[in-house]
Amino acid sequence: MVDTGSASDFDERQFEALYHEHFGFLVAVAIQKFRVPESDAETLAHEVFLSYLKDPAHVRDLNRWLLGAICHASRYYWRVNNRLSREAAVEIERIDPSTINILESLPNQIAAREALECLSPRYQEILRLRFFEGLSVPELAARLGVKKKYAAKLLTKCLRRAETLYERKGRRRLRRR
């Protein structure tokens, strides 16, 4: 991790390292949490970096500062562009306590979602019904037109497959590092 105590000690390489280290994360937050279009998300992230430079010595927790800045920048983006539905606007204005630890959880979330993407459409549908729509196992069985016991078995199978893919993603990630 780049030393973020004070910019006064940075050399040129450190500035660049700082940008590289956090850029992907900031863009991912803008796109994932706030649904900002990709190219605009990159511009927002760049502006966040530039705005940090005004008073870097007073930023005590750089990760938190950058996260706060990109979240507020994304909200502002939608306020100015006024393109969100009312419900979505309420959702992005809501203070989400889970975002405080997003730096730790985001890579896992991203890996998990990608793992889900690799599942067959049927498996994706089963997991969506169970975990996104909140159907119980009997309801799931009724929706799929199968017996309750078989629905439970299917669900276990889907989860095991997703878990295998998730672990593979993690291993690949570690190898990349």
């Binding site: 940008y19 530039l50 007073h58 996260l67 985001l106 890579p107 990608e114």
Partner: protein
Amino acid sequence: MSDKVVSFERAQRRPDPARVQEFAETARRLQRERQESADVVTRALRETPREEWPRLATRPELRNSGALNRLETEVSARLEKEPQEALLLSDLAASIAETLPPDSYPAVVLAQLRALAWKDRAQALAYIGRYPEALEALDRAESRLSFGSLTHDRAIVRYVRALTLQKVNRFEDSRELLAECSQVFRDHGDDRRYLYCGIGEALLLDRTERYRDAYNTLIPLLDVARTSGDVESEARIQSNLAHAAVYLGELNAANVHLSEAIARFVDLGKRLEAIRTELAGGRLLLARGQLRLGIQRLYEARRSFLMHGMVEEAGLSGLEIVEALLQSGARDDAARLAEEILGELRHIAFNDRALSALAYLSDAAQASQASVETVRHVRGYIDSLRDDPTCEFVAL
């Protein structure tokens, strides 16, 4: 579902090299300007008569972000003691910031420089009571911040607006702004400004005589201040808690908070601030009719002033004690103290006219003829000498 999914590779995306270069170059440049400008600004201000400060706006060595940063510091340092000078300097900063060429810095950075210069001007105007102009300057500041990434800067400007609105009794507007700013600072991990917002809200509640609410607002902030190691904010919170507690009639709690505030200022090495807090606490207790506790606090403040060789301040705070002693019927103590103060101030060759007035008070006290009005008359006269040193003392 897939439209909501961002692929893992995207989180590992590579930034545009041109943008990385712009960031690194700007960072390097701002850092260099900060380092180079501190002395340049200080020297320019020292060598230029105050009335010619506006002309400094054309000096090339002052037309950069580092000089503007330094001017911001100079304005802050003068707000309390020299608000007129602070105003002049903030004018200079706004003038420099507004005339920087549009391509001199990335647009986001330029917007910050301009907005914060206007914010400083607003603060200086508010300090001298020119509130409508201060609010106009804040409008200008906010109008410069048209980037989404500048929410933190916008909150800094709005925090100043919230405090200014309190001065013109727009309490509800102020409360809303403070709540908004507080959230922004919290989201950015800016604990210090988050605490300022809390203190600002307590001040507002205090002004509207909601002392219990003010007290309850401040209590949880103490933990935040301690956790983040912000001793100065902790001291200010304790001082405000003491103020609220006095109005709630909870004198034991007030004493504890006051002592804590003083201890924190002493920890910070801000001894003068500690004495001022003691003095303010004493005055507050007296104003609430708590003569014994108030006198005790004022004696402490006076002793501290003397310990630090601040004889004039010790004398003036001593006069407040004389007044309180007379109020409580302790005439002998009052006479003794008046004589003591006269002796101390004679020793440092205090202003002759002031000494005559003090001698008059001391004589009256010895003869048991001094009253609270006599002390107030002498204190008023000594105060007036600051504006008119030739003013003659007239006995009551």
